[in-house]
Symmetry: C2
Subunit: 365 residues, 2 copies
């Protein structure tokens, strides 16, 4: 690098060059074999609501205009739905972008962040790439986030940020409102909690911590990528106190949220019937898949999401299963870190997809 | 802030809370009057190519799947078109996102960046929000970027980055290949040049600096937001040496480019006929608008873009015109900094739009 005088910023220069994100498209290119069942990224097999699809296709005709940088129509609808104020919400290009905002807003290089060992890799990626230091807390023996452990670690490390996915990815486990509230109250007062609720629509709604009243030191994250089936459109939102929401406006890419996604999300919100169908079909498919796993003697971790994490015995075994399924045109994933890496993670599919999936699984497990 | 212990990162905490981006939607909400002619953000009035529109609407059916994080199909097509390699190109959600990548990749807090006084505000916004220090060089008396001045300033300030928009925004002026090449050669060897070519399709193509051979210390930026009419879809790309292109992968939001934009851009590239129509209609409309300005005794700066900057005498006068046009349902913009702020900037419209525009202009200038 010295030879041609290219010099990067200190934080960026120190980052590894490895790219942690291998997409199904890349796997297809590597294997030369098309993926028939795409059940590895928790994308919804039920697609986008027909009403949202209509809105997206109509809005494409306005695609020559930038989207509203304030996403006011969508924010107004979301605020009404959740019973919160406009200044308590920010819309971004998916939760991933917003996780980048949060780490950037709070972390100076060297600051500590507490999260679960084996939790969402993209969050860790953002923390590291802003120079943050990750402190990991192992999952409990019941494959749940260790709330007491996370809280204790936050105190001991003087963490700036604490991350909790609820329902959790990759385990699928869920904490009810009371447990989450007790966790929030146990956290040190100078830490900010990121509560990633990407999969919240799949959880028991009577057990979900209400969004209102909004808490100043908690950032709730929601997305249209999972239950709403709009992963490829890129839209998500953050709910927090006005001070945190306002800080994002200081540096975010204001015209970054594309126009068709805004229109699609607005229409998707109104199609509650479609959402209910997705949640119900997911519940049924999840139970079927769990039974199949148990028939083969594997433990399926109870899931409140659109995927199922199943313990298959060892790290080597889960890797082998992922590879053998890929050969059969089935894309699934497995966690990268022990003990979670003894499991495979499968996105819940449609009944037709499950018929194919179970035939493939019968051959490999 | 001390009261509730919310503490942001040093760089972010020091940023102003003012949001520099007022969208036409916000102007409509403020004035309560709908905008009939949206000619302030250099969005294409000719829309999206019908072939691209078809691709976008078809791809929406796949919107439940994340887009390819490598944008391989699109990058392959772009690489073929430009005669460069895949590792010399990165695709992002528009040039604005990529400007954020570049400032982040190169700037430590306090590092200096050289740009023209009154140049692209979004670039300045990104520089400031990563703690960079802006050094401004005034435009020349001919409303052109002062290449000698920029180069000298880069040397004197030990600039990490130099920004040049060519064709320029907001002046519309253009430097031919030879002038740009001489400028590049005059820059200090440890500076990196950002050559923002958002409007390049509107320039005399025989005078455009070829993209190949790629230069290691120059980052060329192109977009589908302007001539291709896809501003609301969000897609742009960077061309540079492999070392710079690779560094973006260390920290960018890998799944951030939405799927329909990727498909739309790919189809748009193939519809050269549509692009030629847009460029030709823009050339004709630009000449008409320049003549109208001159009839009223105002100087229209010769433009190589899809907009026209016209000197109307004073800062107060241009502000008044912007306001009076808005009352008439016409959205245009004006630069914020003297002497450019003595001008109004109007996006070239369709013949129908120009008929309305000229009637409104007749009343106000």
């Amino acid at each position: 690098m010295a030879a041609n005088h290219l010099r990067f910023s200190k934080v960026i220069d120190a980052l590894p060059a490895t790219v942690p994100f291998v997409a199904p498209e890349a796997l297809e290119r590597q294997s030369g074999k098309p993926i028939e069942l795409r059940l590895g990224a928790n994308e919804s097999p039920f697609g986008i609501s027909p009403k949202a699809m209509e809105a997206i296709r109509a809005e494409a005709a306005m695609g020559n205009f930038y989207g509203d940088p304030e996403s006011l129509e969508l924010r107004t609808a979301l605020a009404a739905k959740h019973g919160i104020s406009l200044n308590q919400m920010a819309v971004g290009s998916g939760i991933d972008e917003i996780l980048g905002w949060i780490t950037r807003a709070f972390l100076d290089p060297g600051d500590t962040v507490v999260t679960s060992l084996g939790g969402y890799p993209t969050f860790n990626y953002h923390v590291t790439s802003f120079g943050g230091k990750l402190h990991f807390v192992p999952y409990t023996a019941e494959w749940k986030n260790d709330l007491a452990g996370l809280s204790q670690a936050a105190r001991e490390t003087h963490a700036r940020l604490v991350y909790l996915a609820n329902p959790d990815n990759p385990t699928g486990t869920f904490y009810s409102a009371q447990a989450v509230m007790e966790f929030i109250e146990s956290l040190p007062k100078d830490a900010v909690l990121i509560l990633d609720e990407a999969y919240i629509e799949f959880a028991d709604q009577s057990e979900v911590l209400p969004l209102s009243p909004v808490m100043d030191r908690v950032i709730r994250l929601r997305t249209f990528s999972k239950a709403y089936g709009m992963a490829g459109l890129r839209i998500g939102y953050a709910i927090s106190g006005p001070e945190i929401i306002a800080v994002f406006d200081k540096f975010r890419n204001h015209f970054g949220v594309n126009r068709v996604a805004q229109a699609g999300a607005l229409a998707a919100l109104e199609d509650t019937e479609f959402l209910e169908m997705v949640v119900e079909q997911t519940r049924v498919g999840r139970a079927d898949l769990a039974m199949a796993a148990e028939r083969h003697g594997h433990f399926a971790i109870p899931s409140s999401t659109n995927f199922l994490l199943t313990h298959v015995g060892s790290d080597a075994r889960s890797s082998q299963m992922v590879d053998e399924l890929l050969v059969r045109g089935v894309f699934i994933r497995k966690p990268g870190i022990l003990p979670l890496s003894e499991c495979i993670r499968i996105t819940i599919g449609t009944p037709t997809q499950h018929a194919k999936l179970l035939r493939a699984l019968d051959e490999v497990w």
